[in-house]
């Protein structure tokens, strides 16, 4: 890479104007947290620089937000669907117009490469609002009954890996179906949700239809346990999902959960090798591996093992790790110190358990949270790194001999979110796709998302689907 070492190509930060502090967005206006709340700081994980101080919502604030959403619910659900649709279309358009700003903001707060926030996250956010906007006046044709009704107030708690995209997945279908929402973004990535609140104001969305309250886990817990909410939607860890499922037991709250995964990416010896290698790389290093559906277990047919591993290592050596705002960066910063510690801990366990660890030579910045793309070979189903979700750029490589063995290993997990298959043989793809216990199966591709395509898990990866016609079901009675 010596000759064509690309010069730095940083995206300009000047397109985004981050205020020194942010309040809560309740009933159409920003305001400080009550005395029950507090403040916290959000940092740029690539530099550890403080980006802003953000209000932390306490119990009273949650009350206020739920009450505002409740007040707004009547008029909002009574609006003709076509009118709700127009608000959503308007929001979608504003997102498109402000896409550069939102992409830079997302990369600053999350640490993901600008290439991804610009080419994946933000375009999908706009697409999601466009898609569900069109459903708002067609709900009775969605296959969920001839007279579908909204549920009421939706409490939505989203993770830090795709902050704005997860917001879109939650808010767009909820609003289209006539619900109002109180959404809590993750503690480490609150900013794009707050910018979204600004977009709601810009779109003249009626006050209370969307409320954004920031805070940590406790705020989220208060929100989902609030007696005034009718629906809880959560994306995050399986452990928290379990707690939420327990907490809504015995209530009439409807619940959808999108939780963890440990997806098998299965490569047969007749795979299109170069594209399979791209798929493996995209499967685990996309978004620093902070992806619940990441292909974190590579299952390679033994007869293709050497070929695949050689090609994979060669490809990994070209990954560009560094400044998220550089347009040529492939792998950005780990989102937080806590997440970095978890990745390190599990990787150390992998090494201690005897798996062989390999990373390409790569220089990591001194400031910020970084972890080099890593693969472990010689991993078996008994290793913790083959069972636990690492949620980082760490790939466990296992082998198999026959399709049956691949299925057995792929399904041998409490999770069931996604899976990958690489082979040029059509009947093999279809048979594998049938037998894999996972909500999304990518054959000869990986980590593809679309607003029309339902997404969600089997088993401990959660329940309910987001996206597509199916995604409306979570918000309709």
């Amino acid at each position: 890479m010596s000759f064509l070492e690309y010069a730095p190509a940083p995206e300009s930060r000047s397109v985004v104007d981050i205020a020194p502090s942010y309040g809560l967005f309740i009933d159409g206006a920003f305001g400080p947290a009550s005395s029950s709340g507090g403040v916290f700081k959000t940092v740029n994980p690539a530099s550890e620089e403080v980006l802003a101080e953000v209000a932390s919502a306490g119990a009273e604030d949650v009350d206020r937000a739920v009450a505002a959403a409740r007040r707004a619910f009547g008029p909002w659900s009574a609006l003709p669907g076509a009118e709700r649709a127009k608000y959503l279309f308007r929001i979608a358009r504003i997102i498109q117009e402000r896409s550069r700003e939102l992409a830079v903001l997302e990369s600053l707060d999350n640490g993901k490469p600008i290439r991804e926030s610009r080419d994946v996250d933000v375009p999908l956010v706009a697409a999601h609002f466009f898609y569900y906007a069109g459903w708002a006046d067609k709900l009775k044709y969605a296959g969920h009954g001839s007279d579908p009704r909204p549920l009421g107030v939706a409490a939505q708690v989203i993770p830090w890996n795709f902050p704005l995209l997860m917001l879109a997945w939650k808010i767009a279908p909820a609003l289209a179906a006539g619900n109002t929402v109180v959404l809590k973004p993750a503690e480490t990535t609150p900013l794009s949700a707050l910018f979204f609140a600004d977009i709601c104001q810009q779109a003249d969305l009626p006050p209370g239809v969307v409320n954004i309250i920031t805070g940590a886990g406790e705020t989220g817990r208060t929100l989902v346990e609030h007696p005034g909410v009718d629906k809880v939607a959560f994306t995050g860890s399986t452990e928290v999902g379990r707690q939420i499922a327990r907490s809504v037991a015995g209530t009439s709250k409807r619940l959808t959960l999108e939780l963890g995964g440990k997806a098998a990416n299965i490569v047969f010896d007749d795979a299109p090798i170069d594209q399979a290698v791209e798929g493996i790389v995209n499967g685990i290093f996309f978004n620093q591996g902070h992806v619940c559906c990441a292909g974190s277990r590579l299952l390679v047919q033994e007869s293709a093992y050497d070929e695949v591993l050689t090609a994979l290592k060669r490809r990994m050596a070209t990954l560009r790790v560094g400044d998220p705002l550089d347009k040529n960066t492939d792998v950005g910063a780990i989102n937080s110190a806590a997440q970095l510690a978890r990745i390190r801990e599990l990787s150390d366990v992998g090494a201690a358990e005897g798996a062989e660890r390999w990373s390409p030579p790569c220089e990591l910045p001194a400031q910020g949270f970084w972890f080099a793309p890593t693969i472990f070979t010689g991993v078996t189903q008994a290793h913790r790194i083959a069972r636990e979700e690492i949620f980082g750029p760490v790939l466990s490589v296992l082998t198999f001999r026959t399709p049956d063995e691949a299925i057995e290993k792929a399904n041998n997990t409490p999770y069931g979110l996604s899976a990958g298959i690489w082979t040029e043989k059509g009947s093999l793809i279809l048979a594998m796709a049938d037998k894999l216990r996972a909500g999304v199966v990518w054959a000869n591709t990986f980590n593809k998302f679309d607003p029309t395509s339902p997404f969600g898990g089997y088993k401990e990866s959660g329940y309910g689907r987001e996206g597509g016609r199916h995604g409306l079901e979570a918000y309709l009675a």
Partner: protein, 293 residues
């Protein structure tokens, strides 16, 4: 246990009041023993326990029976799900035929004629859904790219069911679960009717293990199903006690089971069930593949 005389009890009382048929024919009647239905067989409870229901000794299922039933259900599930939808529809239709054929026996157990008709019709209704639900509940998704993308429903797996007390209620929870390829472990408090249905199932080409029926006290066995890691979903339609329902739902969260909560109001099983009883026990799988040469 029901404090007021149940219809079954009344029917039985009637039978005993008149001079027994067998006496008229000069022989003593042979009574039926009501046992559990697990993996296609009719074992006694491994605990050896029975309890008296309307004068009959009925097997009282234990936690180990629940465990065995889950094993049987799991063993049967893959194959049942892999059977063609057409085949599952045929099997359900056969159940309808066999219930109809045993009409007198169900009536004698106190099932009202109208309810029995409705139950037979419900089997027929669900039989027809077997090869249509995927078309109605699936989709071809027009993603913004050169990809083939479809979503199709799949059974969630093994379902633990606390059945409602009526025969129509029982059928209304079993049929939607199994028609799509799930297997069930059913806890019932109406043992004679449920075991008679089991006898129907055993003679209707339903593979052993697809439906397993445990008679006894749901409060005793249901918690074992709720906490069992190899149960994928829990249908609490028949749980009358809200506290028990909450406890079971909370326990089901341990392995993130899909939970069908008890109905808020007294359920009207004669109404059109809609798709929910089936879709609540289905997973949606979405498959992507690139298109190109």
């Amino acid at each position: 246990m029901p404090k007021s005389p149940s219809p079954a009890k009344a029917a039985k009382a009637e039978r005993s009041a008149s001079p027994a048929e067998s006496d008229r024919r000069g022989r003593l009647a042979v009574r039926k023993t009501y046992k559990l239905y697990i993996g296609g067989a009719f074992p006694r409870s491994e605990s050896g326990r029975t309890y008296l229901v309307d004068g009959d000794n009925v097997a009282l299922a234990s936690r180990k029976d629940a465990r065995d039933a889950v094993v049987a259900a799991r063993k049967a599930q893959t194959k049942w799900a892999a059977a063609t939808a057409y085949n599952r529809g045929q099997v359900l239709y056969r159940i309808a035929e066999m219930v109809e054929a045993r009409r007198d026996e169900f009536l004698a157990l106190g099932v009202a004629a109208g309810e029995l008709d409705a139950a037979v019709d419900r089997w027929v209704w669900y039989a027809g859904w077997s090869d249509k639900i995927a078309q109605v509940h699936g989709s071809a998704n027009p993603v913004a790219g050169p990809y083939f993308n479809i979503s199709a429903p799949e059974p969630t797996g093994v379902v633990g069911v606390v059945a409602p007390a009526s025969f129509l209620g029982l059928v209304s929870v079993i049929a939607p679960a199994i028609v799509t390829g799930n297997t069930v472990v059913v806890l019932t408090a109406t043992p004679q009717v449920a075991v008679t249905l089991a006898e129907v199932l055993a003679t209707s080409d339903v593979p052993g293990g697809v439906v397993n029926i445990l008679t006894g006290h749901a409060a005793e066995t249901a918690p074992w199903l709720a906490s069992h890691d190899d149960v994928n979903a829990l249908d609490l339609t028949g749980v009358a006690d809200p506290e028990l329902a909450t406890e079971l739902e909370r326990s089901a969260a341990g392995s993130l089971k899909r939970v069908v909560r008890p109905p808020a109001d007294t359920p009207d099983f004669t109404a059109d069930p809609g798709l929910r009883p089936m879709t609540a026990l289905l997973e949606t799988k979405t498959v992507w593949h690139p298109k190109g040469f």
